[in-house]
């Protein structure tokens, strides 16, 4: 692995050719990326042009508290060119998982890239940063992940937070979050941060984000939570192929019932699709083979903040802090309703006792008037 980028950096297209791909392969790759990004014809031309002429952008890819499923997802993204060109040693100057160098050599490579391409490189972060106990829970090469992140972020042009770990802490940040796992946007300020949540994010989505940054030289349009709009503006529910069953009111109740066999909607067995923003329904997984709902399992909500603590996987009802894990809105509501009914009944009894005279007088008065009416002696 050439750990230090050569002086005159080749373009992406140069690398494509060097790797033995044809021009046609390259065009197909560009078209695919353009489609994922939702680009128009002119946008597509721009992507093609950029990948042809622009020298490759150096990338530093850091791994902190994570399981590496994001990297796995990325290198398995459907188009081989993604792995070969974007991820190969050409683009990637430092990533523990995939680089050949190790130890001192590897750290050297990162240092070199950071110095040589100050303000130009893209920093990809996979995993969360533990801040408890001065960060000892995750140390690489004698430095805490916090130190590494700070150093690498200082000269980065933009930061991409891969996966739910980097975006919201994922499983490490689940209560009680023993290591104080912290997402990237809470630690770095003053740099554009692209959040690409998911556990893991879809490989094509990751490729799309990188291609966008490389081709246009700027970060893609983000939503209010910092996620690329092209992939996270729709809920899984809005693109789900089981949606007609939902609208019809036809639901699976248990995973082995008749309705499950018929492929009804998984809402009642805990599908989080209606509150999850992701591209699974459109892009799917593993070269567009399938996605959880297609395999008969509800959406987990893996790209949503705090999804580990948001309640149970197989029910729609969610836990509420302070009421114990078993409490759901409906249970607490019914109890409160019962308590209210009892209180009102007690109040009604008390009224009749304590205000007896008052009520009695009102009744008397009414009866008197009634009598007066009859006797016509008003």
């Amino acid at each position: 692995m050439s750990t230090i980028a050569p002086k005159s950096t080749p373009t992406y297209y140069d690398e494509v050719v060097r790797k033995g791909y044809t021009r046609r392969d390259f065009a197909k790759f560009c078209a695919m990326m353009g489609a994922y990004l939702g680009l128009s014809q002119s946008g597509l031309a721009q992507v093609t042009e950029a990948l042809k002429t622009k020298p490759r952008v150096p990338v530093i890819w850091l791994h902190f508290q994570e399981c590496t499923c994001c990297s796995e997802s990325f290198i398995r993204s459907s188009h081989p060119m993604v792995a070969d060109i974007l991820l190969d040693q050409i683009s990637l100057d430092y990533t523990e998982t995939l680089m050949a160098a190790s130890g001192f050599q590897a750290e050297e490579a990162m240092k070199n890239t950071m110095e040589k391409y100050k303000g130009e490189y893209i920093l990809c972060v996979e995993g969360s940063v533990p801040t408890a106990a001065d960060g000892v829970y995750c140390m690489i090469g004698g430095k805490t992940s916090m130190q590494i992140l700070e150093e690498a972020a200082a000269g980065a042009k933009a930061i991409i937070a891969w996966g739910s770990c980097a975006c919201n802490g994922c499983v490490q940040a689940a209560a009680p979050n023993p290591t104080s796992a912290t997402p990237i946007h809470k630690l770095v300020s003053g740099k554009p941060i692209i959040k690409v949540p998911g556990c893991p994010p879809i490989g094509e989505v990751m490729a799309g984000v990188i291609v966008h940054v490389v081709a246009f030289g700027r970060i893609p349009e983000l939503d209010g939570l910092g996620r690329p709009k092209a992939f996270y503006s729709k809920r899984v529910h809005d693109t789900c192929y089981r949606r007609p069953f939902y609208d019809a009111g036809l639901f699976v109740e248990t995973f082995d019932d008749e309705n499950a066999r018929k492929g009804y909607c998984l809402y009642k067995v805990g599908c989080k699709g209606p509150s999850t923003y992701n591209a699974c329904g459109v892009t799917k997984w593993n070269n567009g083979t399938s996605f959880p709902i297609q395999s008969g399992h509800g959406c987990f909500g893996c790209s949503e903040e705090n999804y580990w603590d948001n309640g149970r996987i197989y029910s729609r009802a969610s836990a509420f802090p302070g009421f114990g894990i078993e409490a759901t809105a409906d249970k607490v509501g019914k109890v409160a309703l019962g308590v209210t009914a009892v209180a009102l009944a007690a109040h009604a009894v008390a009224t009749n006792v304590r205000k007896h005279k008052l009520i009695h007088n009102l009744e008397k008065e009414g009866q008197q008037s009634e009598k007066d009416l009859e006797n016509e002696n008003i």
């Binding site: 019809a248 009111g249 036809l250 109740e253 009642k268 009802a317 409906d330 209210t340 008397k364």
Partner: protein, 253 residues
């Protein structure tokens, strides 16, 4: 049977027509929203032999929920407006304490109606202070429910009005928490409705002034003595003022 003292009652126009329309439209919307909302949260498992494409049950439940939500919102907005142009019983000052008297009355209501202490019954022709303030709290609930509801709705709508709420999921970090807040607040609406209906019956029962029917015709019936009392009080105040002024004038003469 000894002859009772029979009060003469005077008709007072309390709830204007717009207030009454608001009230019943609001009631209708809330009932529809609660019913459809709870159904959406946990729908029944229907069995059907027909194709899904021929059915749209959940779709209709949601449609009713959304239509009711829009009605509810604009009706609520209208009521706020009416709080500035309506009669004195509709005025916004009934809901938000602006003076010491408001708190005094609240305490009075607590003493008489909740702790059931003996003493002089308080009188309020329109809302009493506790009721008024509790409506202010429900207005806040209305607001929470509108914001969270339209926040959840924004992502699936192209309507500019719904899009105005696109910032809400951002604030809550996503739809999951937002949905929870929306669901929990629903239960506060249910509790409010129960207590509200009970208290209307309670007031009608212990006051005999036509509390229940007032939301129909707009009238309440107030004892003649009350008018005398109010008049006397006004005169007393006027007298005091006059005396004070005279006392000030004296040194000048």
């Amino acid at each position: 049977m000894e002859k009772n003292k029979v009060h003469r009652l005077r008709r007072v126009f309390v709830w204007e027509l717009p207030v009454r329309i608001y009230h019943w439209l609001n009631a209708l919307c809330i009932v529809a929203l609660i019913a459809t909302g709870l159904y959406i949260g946990s729908p029944l498992v229907l069995q059907s032999s027909s194709e899904a494409s021929e059915k749209f049950f959940m779709g209709w439940v949601k449609t009713i929920h959304f239509i009711a939500a829009f009605l509810f919102f604009f009706n609520f907005a209208f009521r706020i407006y009416w709080g500035f142009v309506g009669n004195k019983y509709a005025d916004w000052r009934n809901f938000i304490p602006t003076n010491k008297h408001y708190f005094k009355e609240m305490w009075q209501v607590f003493k008489m109606d909740i702790f059931m202490m003996k003493g002089k019954e308080h009188l309020s022709v329109g809302h009493n202070a506790v009721a008024g303030f509790s409506y202010f709290i429900t207005f806040i609930l209305f607001l929470i429910q509108c914001i969270t509801g339209f926040g959840l709705y924004a992502a699936m709508s192209n309507f500019w009005f719904a899009k105005l709420f696109a910032w809400v999921p951002t604030l809550f970090g996503g739809d999951i928490l937002l949905r929870q807040v929306h669901h929990w607040t629903t239960w506060l609406f249910i509790l409010f409705t129960v207590v509200h209906v009970y208290l209307v019956f309670y007031h009608d029962y212990v006051e005999g002034r036509g509390e229940i029917s007032s939301m129909g015709g707009g009238w309440k019936f107030i004892e003649d003595e009350v008018f005398d009392e109010v008049k006397a009080e006004k005169q007393k105040k006027l007298q005091e003022k006059k005396e004070k002024m005279e006392a000030q004038m004296k040194p000048l003469t």
